[in-house]
Protein backbone atom coordinates (compact mmCIF):
# COMPACT_ATOMS: atom_id res chain seq x y z
CA UNK A 1 0.00 0.00 0.00
CA UNK A 2 1.47 3.38 -0.99
CA UNK A 3 1.56 6.37 1.26
CA UNK A 4 -1.26 8.26 -0.49
CA UNK A 5 -3.64 5.34 -0.27
CA UNK A 6 -2.81 4.83 3.36
CA UNK A 7 -3.60 8.46 4.07
CA UNK A 8 -6.96 8.40 2.28
CA UNK A 9 -7.91 5.16 4.02
CA UNK A 10 -6.97 6.73 7.32
CA UNK A 11 -9.05 9.80 6.56
CA UNK A 12 -12.06 7.68 5.62
CA UNK A 13 -11.64 5.71 8.83
CA UNK A 14 -11.49 8.96 10.76
CA UNK A 15 -14.72 10.16 9.17
CA UNK A 16 -16.49 6.91 9.98
CA UNK A 17 -15.25 7.15 13.56
CA UNK A 18 -16.55 10.69 13.88
CA UNK A 19 -19.93 9.72 12.47
CA UNK A 20 -19.95 6.82 14.89
CA UNK A 21 -19.35 9.24 17.72
CA UNK A 22 -22.17 11.60 16.70
CA UNK A 23 -24.98 9.53 18.19
CA UNK A 24 -22.98 9.55 21.44
CA UNK A 25 -23.00 13.35 21.42
CA UNK A 26 -26.73 13.28 20.73
CA UNK A 27 -27.16 10.83 23.58
CA UNK A 28 -25.82 13.46 25.99
CA UNK A 29 -28.69 15.74 24.96
CA UNK A 30 -31.26 13.01 25.39
CA UNK A 31 -34.38 13.85 27.30
CA UNK A 32 -36.97 11.58 28.78
CA UNK A 33 -40.74 11.84 28.60
CA UNK A 34 -41.07 9.51 31.58
CA UNK A 35 -43.14 10.97 34.39
CA UNK A 36 -43.54 9.34 37.79
CA UNK A 37 -46.99 8.28 38.95
CA UNK A 38 -48.45 11.02 41.18
CA UNK A 39 -49.79 8.45 43.65
CA UNK A 40 -50.13 4.69 44.18
CA UNK A 41 -53.49 4.37 42.39
CA UNK A 42 -52.16 2.84 39.15
CA UNK A 43 -50.04 0.37 41.13
CA UNK A 44 -53.01 -0.48 43.33
CA UNK A 45 -55.18 -0.98 40.25
CA UNK A 46 -52.69 -3.56 38.86
CA UNK A 47 -52.52 -5.20 42.29
CA UNK A 48 -56.33 -5.39 42.50
CA UNK A 49 -56.48 -6.88 39.00
CA UNK A 50 -54.02 -9.56 40.11
CA UNK A 51 -55.82 -10.21 43.41
CA UNK A 52 -59.28 -10.48 41.83
CA UNK A 53 -60.99 -9.58 45.07
CA UNK A 54 -58.88 -11.77 47.35
CA UNK A 55 -57.28 -10.35 50.48
CA UNK A 56 -53.52 -10.95 50.59
CA UNK A 57 -51.81 -12.28 53.71
CA UNK A 58 -48.92 -10.18 54.95
CA UNK A 59 -46.83 -13.21 55.96
CA UNK A 60 -44.96 -15.79 53.92
CA UNK A 61 -43.39 -13.50 51.36
CA UNK A 62 -40.34 -11.32 51.89
CA UNK A 63 -38.75 -8.55 49.85
CA UNK A 64 -35.14 -7.51 50.38
CA UNK A 65 -33.94 -4.08 49.30
CA UNK A 66 -30.76 -2.17 50.06
CA UNK A 67 -31.04 0.64 52.63
CA UNK A 68 -30.22 3.15 49.90
CA UNK A 69 -30.54 2.77 46.16
CA UNK A 70 -27.28 4.53 45.30
CA UNK A 71 -27.73 3.70 41.62
CA UNK A 72 -31.39 4.20 40.65
CA UNK A 73 -30.72 2.56 37.27
CA UNK A 74 -29.94 -0.77 38.93
CA UNK A 75 -31.45 -1.31 42.36
CA UNK A 76 -31.10 -4.92 43.52
CA UNK A 77 -34.41 -6.45 44.61
CA UNK A 78 -34.92 -9.95 45.97
CA UNK A 79 -38.34 -11.50 46.53
CA UNK A 80 -38.70 -14.91 48.11
CA UNK A 81 -41.18 -17.13 49.88
CA UNK A 82 -40.40 -17.61 53.54
CA UNK A 83 -42.69 -20.60 53.92
CA UNK A 84 -41.68 -24.05 52.75
CA UNK A 85 -42.43 -25.04 49.17
CA UNK A 86 -43.67 -28.57 48.57
CA UNK A 87 -45.32 -30.52 45.79
CA UNK A 88 -48.72 -29.56 47.19
CA UNK A 89 -47.98 -25.97 48.18
CA UNK A 90 -46.08 -23.77 45.80
CA UNK A 91 -46.16 -20.33 44.25
CA UNK A 92 -47.73 -20.11 40.81
CA UNK A 93 -47.38 -16.45 39.98
CA UNK A 94 -45.62 -13.43 41.40
CA UNK A 95 -45.78 -9.75 40.48
CA UNK A 96 -43.50 -6.95 41.63
CA UNK A 97 -44.63 -3.31 41.54
CA UNK A 98 -42.74 -0.04 41.78
CA UNK A 99 -45.56 2.18 42.95
CA UNK A 100 -44.40 5.53 41.53
CA UNK A 101 -42.69 4.38 38.34
CA UNK A 102 -44.22 5.55 35.01
CA UNK A 103 -45.23 1.92 34.45
CA UNK A 104 -45.59 0.46 37.94
CA UNK A 105 -45.46 -3.22 36.98
CA UNK A 106 -41.77 -4.20 37.15
CA UNK A 107 -42.23 -7.80 36.11
CA UNK A 108 -44.23 -10.95 36.44
CA UNK A 109 -42.96 -14.45 37.29
CA UNK A 110 -44.59 -17.80 36.75
CA UNK A 111 -43.46 -20.92 38.56
CA UNK A 112 -44.50 -24.53 38.27
CA UNK A 113 -44.69 -27.49 40.61
CA UNK A 114 -41.33 -28.61 39.22
CA UNK A 115 -39.59 -25.36 40.23
CA UNK A 116 -39.77 -26.37 43.88
CA UNK A 117 -38.85 -22.86 45.05
CA UNK A 118 -39.82 -19.22 44.67
CA UNK A 119 -36.79 -17.06 45.26
CA UNK A 120 -35.86 -14.47 42.65
CA UNK A 121 -33.59 -11.46 42.45
CA UNK A 122 -33.26 -8.81 39.79
CA UNK A 123 -32.16 -5.22 39.25
CA UNK A 124 -34.69 -2.50 38.65
CA UNK A 125 -34.81 1.13 37.54
CA UNK A 126 -36.60 3.45 39.93
CA UNK A 127 -37.78 6.91 39.07
CA UNK A 128 -37.62 8.26 42.64
CA UNK A 129 -37.88 7.13 46.25
CA UNK A 130 -40.99 4.99 46.57
CA UNK A 131 -42.65 1.90 47.92
CA UNK A 132 -42.30 -1.50 46.29
CA UNK A 133 -45.04 -4.10 46.49
CA UNK A 134 -44.82 -7.81 45.71
CA UNK A 135 -47.76 -10.21 45.55
CA UNK A 136 -47.55 -13.97 45.16
CA UNK A 137 -50.41 -16.24 44.12
CA UNK A 138 -50.15 -19.72 45.62
CA UNK A 139 -51.55 -22.86 44.01
CA UNK A 140 -54.16 -23.16 46.79
CA UNK A 141 -55.59 -19.74 45.97
CA UNK A 142 -53.92 -17.83 48.78
CA UNK A 143 -52.24 -14.51 48.04
CA UNK A 144 -49.16 -13.37 49.96
CA UNK A 145 -47.78 -9.87 49.88
CA UNK A 146 -44.68 -7.97 50.93
CA UNK A 147 -44.00 -4.26 50.93
CA UNK A 148 -40.82 -2.26 51.30
CA UNK A 149 -39.82 1.37 50.91
CA UNK A 150 -36.63 2.55 49.35
CA UNK A 151 -34.80 5.85 49.09
CA UNK A 152 -32.90 6.26 45.85
CA UNK A 153 -30.19 8.74 45.00
CA UNK A 154 -31.53 11.54 42.81
CA UNK A 155 -31.47 11.63 39.04
CA UNK A 156 -29.74 9.54 36.40
CA UNK A 157 -32.44 6.97 36.36
CA UNK A 158 -32.15 6.53 32.61
CA UNK A 159 -35.80 5.86 32.01
Amino acid sequence: MDRRRLLTTGAALGVSLVSGVLPLAARAQMTSTAAPQPDDSESDRIAAEFLQGAVPLSAGLAMDLPALGDNPAAVPVRVHLTEAVSETSFCEELIVLAQRNPRPLICRFRFTQLTGAADVALRVRLMQSMGLHAIARMNDGRFLEARADITVAAGGCGM
Binding site: M30, P102, P104, L105, F109, T112, D119, V120, A121
Partner: protein, 110 residues
Protein backbone atom coordinates in the same frame (compact mmCIF):
# COMPACT_ATOMS: atom_id res chain seq x y z
CA UNK B 1 -26.79 -10.15 20.29
CA UNK B 2 -23.23 -11.10 19.72
CA UNK B 3 -22.33 -11.57 23.36
CA UNK B 4 -23.49 -14.78 24.99
CA UNK B 5 -25.40 -14.77 28.29
CA UNK B 6 -23.33 -15.05 31.45
CA UNK B 7 -24.46 -17.91 33.67
CA UNK B 8 -23.45 -18.95 37.16
CA UNK B 9 -24.90 -22.02 38.82
CA UNK B 10 -24.36 -23.04 42.44
CA UNK B 11 -24.00 -26.73 41.62
CA UNK B 12 -24.18 -28.79 38.45
CA UNK B 13 -24.17 -32.00 40.48
CA UNK B 14 -26.73 -31.37 43.23
CA UNK B 15 -28.11 -34.03 45.53
CA UNK B 16 -31.79 -34.88 45.15
CA UNK B 17 -33.96 -32.03 46.40
CA UNK B 18 -31.05 -29.64 46.81
CA UNK B 19 -31.81 -25.99 46.09
CA UNK B 20 -29.77 -24.86 43.12
CA UNK B 21 -29.24 -21.15 42.62
CA UNK B 22 -28.84 -19.77 39.10
CA UNK B 23 -27.66 -16.29 38.11
CA UNK B 24 -27.95 -15.17 34.52
CA UNK B 25 -27.26 -11.92 32.74
CA UNK B 26 -27.70 -10.93 29.11
CA UNK B 27 -26.57 -7.88 27.15
CA UNK B 28 -29.64 -5.92 26.06
CA UNK B 29 -30.34 -2.15 25.85
CA UNK B 30 -33.80 -2.40 27.52
CA UNK B 31 -34.84 0.83 25.81
CA UNK B 32 -37.92 2.12 27.63
CA UNK B 33 -39.49 4.09 24.79
CA UNK B 34 -39.49 7.17 27.05
CA UNK B 35 -36.22 8.62 25.82
CA UNK B 36 -36.12 11.32 23.17
CA UNK B 37 -33.14 12.55 21.18
CA UNK B 38 -32.37 16.27 20.92
CA UNK B 39 -34.07 16.40 17.47
CA UNK B 40 -37.33 15.14 18.89
CA UNK B 41 -36.90 11.56 17.74
CA UNK B 42 -38.18 9.09 20.31
CA UNK B 43 -36.16 5.91 20.67
CA UNK B 44 -38.58 3.05 20.19
CA UNK B 45 -39.20 0.68 23.08
CA UNK B 46 -36.96 -2.38 22.91
CA UNK B 47 -37.05 -4.65 25.93
CA UNK B 48 -36.63 -8.30 26.80
CA UNK B 49 -40.22 -9.45 27.02
CA UNK B 50 -39.70 -12.97 28.29
CA UNK B 51 -37.14 -15.22 29.91
CA UNK B 52 -37.86 -18.88 30.38
CA UNK B 53 -35.96 -21.64 32.14
CA UNK B 54 -36.70 -25.23 31.22
CA UNK B 55 -35.53 -28.54 32.60
CA UNK B 56 -35.46 -30.58 29.41
CA UNK B 57 -38.88 -29.63 28.00
CA UNK B 58 -40.60 -28.81 31.29
CA UNK B 59 -41.02 -25.16 32.21
CA UNK B 60 -39.43 -24.21 35.54
CA UNK B 61 -39.79 -20.46 35.49
CA UNK B 62 -41.10 -17.75 33.25
CA UNK B 63 -40.13 -14.12 33.76
CA UNK B 64 -41.85 -11.23 31.96
CA UNK B 65 -39.82 -8.06 32.46
CA UNK B 66 -41.31 -4.64 31.82
CA UNK B 67 -39.58 -1.29 31.31
CA UNK B 68 -38.55 -0.99 34.98
CA UNK B 69 -36.05 -3.83 34.63
CA UNK B 70 -32.50 -2.55 34.28
CA UNK B 71 -30.38 -2.53 31.18
CA UNK B 72 -28.53 -5.82 30.62
CA UNK B 73 -31.16 -7.70 32.63
CA UNK B 74 -29.91 -9.79 35.52
CA UNK B 75 -32.03 -12.59 36.88
CA UNK B 76 -31.35 -14.86 39.81
CA UNK B 77 -33.61 -17.76 40.74
CA UNK B 78 -33.59 -21.05 42.57
CA UNK B 79 -34.87 -24.47 41.62
CA UNK B 80 -35.13 -27.68 43.58
CA UNK B 81 -33.20 -30.48 41.89
CA UNK B 82 -35.79 -33.25 41.74
CA UNK B 83 -34.09 -34.79 38.70
CA UNK B 84 -31.21 -34.21 36.36
CA UNK B 85 -31.49 -32.85 32.84
CA UNK B 86 -30.64 -29.98 30.58
CA UNK B 87 -31.30 -26.63 32.21
CA UNK B 88 -32.12 -24.46 29.21
CA UNK B 89 -32.61 -20.70 29.44
CA UNK B 90 -34.15 -18.69 26.61
CA UNK B 91 -34.38 -14.91 26.26
CA UNK B 92 -37.04 -13.35 24.03
CA UNK B 93 -37.52 -9.80 22.75
CA UNK B 94 -39.42 -8.29 19.83
CA UNK B 95 -36.98 -9.99 17.45
CA UNK B 96 -37.91 -13.41 18.84
CA UNK B 97 -35.81 -15.85 20.87
CA UNK B 98 -32.45 -14.12 20.60
CA UNK B 99 -30.31 -15.91 23.16
CA UNK B 100 -30.08 -19.31 24.75
CA UNK B 101 -27.87 -20.92 27.35
CA UNK B 102 -27.68 -24.53 28.50
CA UNK B 103 -26.28 -26.11 31.67
CA UNK B 104 -26.41 -29.80 32.39
CA UNK B 105 -27.70 -30.83 35.80
CA UNK B 106 -26.89 -34.34 36.95
CA UNK B 107 -27.89 -35.61 40.36
CA UNK B 108 -24.97 -36.65 42.56
CA UNK B 109 -24.84 -40.26 43.71
CA UNK B 110 -25.36 -40.33 47.46
Amino acid sequence: MSRPPRIWISSETPTRGEIVRVRAQIVHPMETGFRTLAGGLTLPMDIVTRFRAFLDDDLLLEWQPETAVSQNPYIEFTIAAFRGGELRMVWTDASGDFAEAVKTLSLAEV
